[in-house]
């Protein structure tokens, strides 16, 4: 039985960028707490001091005088400048410089194709030849293996209905939509076993659409690649078209 604060903490952040989101969240909380405090002070304070008993004679004012209008306008612009501009600025900065700042796809970048289907996640690695949809691809079901310290680019789509590729530990989420390929990149920091979920309602067993995320050190990852490459030699049969659900990697536009 964890303490309450333990319970409400978001899952452990295992990515290089997750902290950006956590930071913005906490920052927003701070600003909003301040303004909600103002609201509460007004709400409860006035209710207390200006109740019928304490203050029988109301102050007859329409709040249309210049002074009052200025005060209101002041509060409004305070909200805009102190809250909106700030968080929009930060969010926009992170968005442009990090989250849609696609890494150059050098050899060091791990590329994975993700296919959502009712109700499972399919993963596809290009294999030694570095080309997708060939016989040497490594294909796994609900079982994603990734290294730390390397940039990882996912290209995500869905077979049947809309799903959402959700990795809580990286604070990342991306809709997987039939008929279009969307992409997302992360870089991981902490080895271990984590969970991948489906964020978008996709039918009765949406809640069961869960995959495991195994994060390795670089070396272990190479080991895993080798072993599973050996395995695929025997498992994938060249004639079965169903095996080749992948697509030729969409080159990053940038």
């Amino acid at each position: 039985m964890k303490s309450f604060l333990e319970q409400i903490k978001p899952p452990l952040d295992i990515s290089t960028n997750g902290h950006l989101i956590d930071y913005l969240f906490n920052y927003t909380t701070l600003l909003i707490a301040f303004f909600f405090l103002l609201v509460c002070i007004g709400l409860f304070g006035f209710s207390y001091f200006y109740s019928k008993k304490k203050h029988p004679k109301p102050f007859y004012v329409h709040g249309t005088s210049k002074k009052h209008i200025l005060i209101v306008a002041g509060i409004a612009s305070m909200v805009f400048i102190m809250v909106d501009m700030k968080i929009t600025g930060i969010s926009n900065h992170d968005f442009v410089n990090v989250f849609i700042n696609w890494p150059e796809e050098t050899a060091d970048v791990v590329r994975v194709e993700v296919l959502g289907q009712q109700w499972a996640w399919n993963f596809r690695y290009p294999g030694p030849d570095g080309v997708f949809n060939t016989e040497d691809d490594i294909v796994t079901l609900n079982d994603l293996h990734l290294p730390i310290g390397q940039k990882i680019v996912f290209q995500v789509t869905a077979k049947d209905v809309i799903h959402s590729f959700y990795i809580p530990n990286t604070r990342m989420k991306l809709d997987a939509m039939p008929g279009r390929v969307s992409k997302m990149w992360v870089e991981l920091t902490t080895p271990g076993n984590y969970e991948i979920a489906c964020g978008q309602i996709c039918g009765t067993f949406h809640y069961k659409m869960k995959a495991s995320l195994e994060v390795h050190t670089k070396e272990d990852y190479q080991k895993w690649l080798k072993s599973s490459y050996e395995r695929t030699k025997y498992t994938t049969d060249a004639v079965n078209p169903d095996v080749f659900w992948g697509w030729s990697w969409v080159a990053s536009t940038k």
Partner: protein, 575 residues
């Protein structure tokens, strides 16, 4: 200004023409109120089923369980769970809150508060109600179809909502029911707009209208413009399901040539975001009025409140994209939607400041309607401000489709709008039925409700931040969610508490209708036009059309003698 005076029809005599197929806006209003309350009950029961499943997965629902789900002896099955939250969302938004706020109080208040004898198009008004009934019948009937009701979420995105994703007839019935309801609401909107433009009592300019009317009017405008958008989307969805077109089919669902499922999301949210303001604008208006009435002083900056609501209405047309950040629109779109969404908080802050300004140096009476209005200020502060987390792209990437969103929109709808509706009910009940609701039980209702709902919805926020995503039959198959079992139980307990409070309300409502203390003509001492006539209002409302000489909030004027308020039919008192 009134362009013409409706003449007095003689009172309907037969039971049918009086209570069933009535042209009288007041009767239609009451009909909508019952309609709304019944569906509030239904949707609420569904909510409790949902909550039970989340707190005690795999345990039979007490009492009702074994009758509802005999095959699983009382446990909610996963497919049923999907139907439950889909129907819960649909029912609560379109069949509970909309009828109560817009259907009931729109119909009841507009003619009374602008000094008219009825809506301009009484027949259209009646039609609109009975169409809503037809739609409700179809929706409820869909629950009993072989494959069950719609289960794709209240947004019912394709391709899940296409035949491939949900083969049952239920989804089709859902689509058609919503289309019909859309037609009905559009009729209502036409009526409201025309009435407010053409039938305002002589002397009543737009800024002499009570803010309630402002809210309802802006709502009607949004309805008239954006319900057809949803209508178009639903039509295409129906064609896809029934007539084999392929607008939204893609991937495996697409047999030949592929459409674009994303188009539906765009269409849905072009309507969907205005819809959320459609729900809350009347509540804002009502609260702005009641705060002034019960602080016994004029509404602070009433004009700027009205203008603020108007600008929210305009902005609401430009921000829908914030529901689709994770679909990876073009970055430029994403950024502009983020910016535009943010600007909405400016007008919101304006009327928040005005609300507080109204309380400031007032002489506040804490009657039940006032309690609920103050409650709205509190919960909408929370609901609105939490919208900002979702408005920023990066945080939304994490929070999207988690319970944080669920918490946000329950705070705004299930808390703010619901409480607004209750405030209105307690306030206008005397004018509706000529009797007062019980004050004591009203206060009990308020305190339990506000305690319960904060438990529920704050709980949801925390769950969301802890990463729990939406529409999960059993969250606890995920390790990272198992620590949340106690919190979920707490939320469920709060929900049950809140539900219980509503039973108090319904009992109070029914009892007071017949046995409540008889209401005077003007129990709250306010000056808007509906209080210049007897309670309950006679079928022709005003024997002769009033002449308006001052604004709706002329209260606490020191120059007044005898009473501390004046009717809108009187010149502003001067020393």
């Amino acid at each position: 200004m009134a362009f013409f005076e409706q003449h007095i029809h003689d009172a309907p005599t037969t039971f049918l023409s009086k209570y069933v197929f009535s042209f009288d806006h007041k009767v239609i209003g009451k009909q909508f109120l019952w309609y709304g309350i019944i569906f509030l009950g239904l949707g609420g029961m569904m909510a409790l089923l949902i909550r039970w499943t989340l707190a005690f997965p795999g345990q039979p629902f007490p009492v009702l369980g074994q009758y509802l789900f005999p095959q699983t002896n009382g446990v909610v099955p996963p497919d049923t769970y999907a139907m439950l939250f889909t129907m819960h969302g649909t029912i609560m938004i379109f069949y509970a809150i909309t009828p109560i706020l817009i259907g009931a109080f729109g119909n009841f208040c507009i003619p009374l508060m602008i000094g008219a004898r009825d809506m301009v198009f009484p027949t259209l008004n009646m039609l609109s109600f009975w169409l809503a009934v037809v739609s409700a019948i179809i929706l409820v009937a869909s629950l009993f179809t072989p494959l069950g009701a719609a289960a794709g979420g209240w947004v019912s995105y394709p391709t899940l909502s296409l035949l491939a994703g949900s083969p049952g007839i239920g989804q089709t019935m859902w689509t058609i029911a919503l289309f019909i309801l859309g037609v009905s609401s559009t009729m209502g909107a036409v009526n409201y707009i025309a009435t407010i433009i053409t039938l305002r009592a002589p002397g009543m300019g737009y800024f002499d209208m009570p803010l309630t009317i402002w809210g309802l009017w802006l709502t009607a405008v949004l309805n008239a413009i954006f319900l057809p958008v949803l209508g178009a989307g639903l039509l295409l969805l129906t064609f896809d399901r029934v007539l084999g077109t392929t607008f939204f089919a893609a991937g495996a669902a697409a047999t030949s040539g592929s459409g674009d499922p994303l188009l539906f999301q765009h269409v849905f949210w072009i309507f969907g975001h205005p819809e959320v303001y459609i729900l809350i604008l009347p509540a804002w208006g009502i609260v702005s009025d009641l705060l002034s009435f019960f602080s016994r002083k004029p509404a602070f900056g009433a004009k700027s409140t009205a203008l603020a609501m108007t600008s929210v209405t305009l902005l609401s047309m430009l921000v829908y994209g914030h529901h689709m950040y994770t679909t990876q629109m073009s970055p430029l779109l994403t950024q502009s939607f983020m910016m535009l969404t943010m600007t909405i908080s400016i007008p919101s802050a304006v009327f928040f400041a005005n609300w507080l300004g109204t309380l400031w140096k007032g002489s506040i009476r804490f009657d039940t309607p006032m309690l609920f209005s103050l409650g709205v200020v509190f919960v909408f502060g929370l609901g609105g401000l939490t919208g900002l987390y979702l408005a920023t792209v990066t945080t939304d990437i994490y929070l999207h489709d988690t319970y944080f969103v669920v918490g946000h929109f329950h705070y705004t709808m299930a808390a703010s709008v619901l409480l607004g509706g209750f405030a209105a009910t307690y306030f206008w009940f005397p004018k509706m039925f000529g009797r007062m609701l019980n004050e004591f039980w009203g206060k009990v209702h308020f305190w339990i409700t506000i305690a319960g709902l904060n438990g529920v919805f704050m709980g949801m926020m925390i769950l969301g931040y802890a990463g729990m995503h939406r529409r999960l039959y059993n969250p606890f198959i995920y390790e990272f969610l198992q620590k949340l079992i106690p919190l979920n139980t707490f939320v469920t307990v709060s929900a049950i508490t809140m539900g219980a409070a509503q039973i108090i309300f319904v009992w109070n409502f029914i009892y007071s209708m017949f046995k409540g203390p008889v209401a005077s003509q003007n129990p709250w001492n306010v000056g808007t036009l509906e209080w210049t006539i007897p309670s309950p209002a006679p079928h022709y409302n005003f024997k002769d059309i009033p002449i308006v000489k001052c604004g709706p909030h002329e209260i606490g004027n020191p120059n007044l003698v005898g009473r501390d308020f004046q009717y809108q039919t009187e010149e502003v008192a001067k020393a």
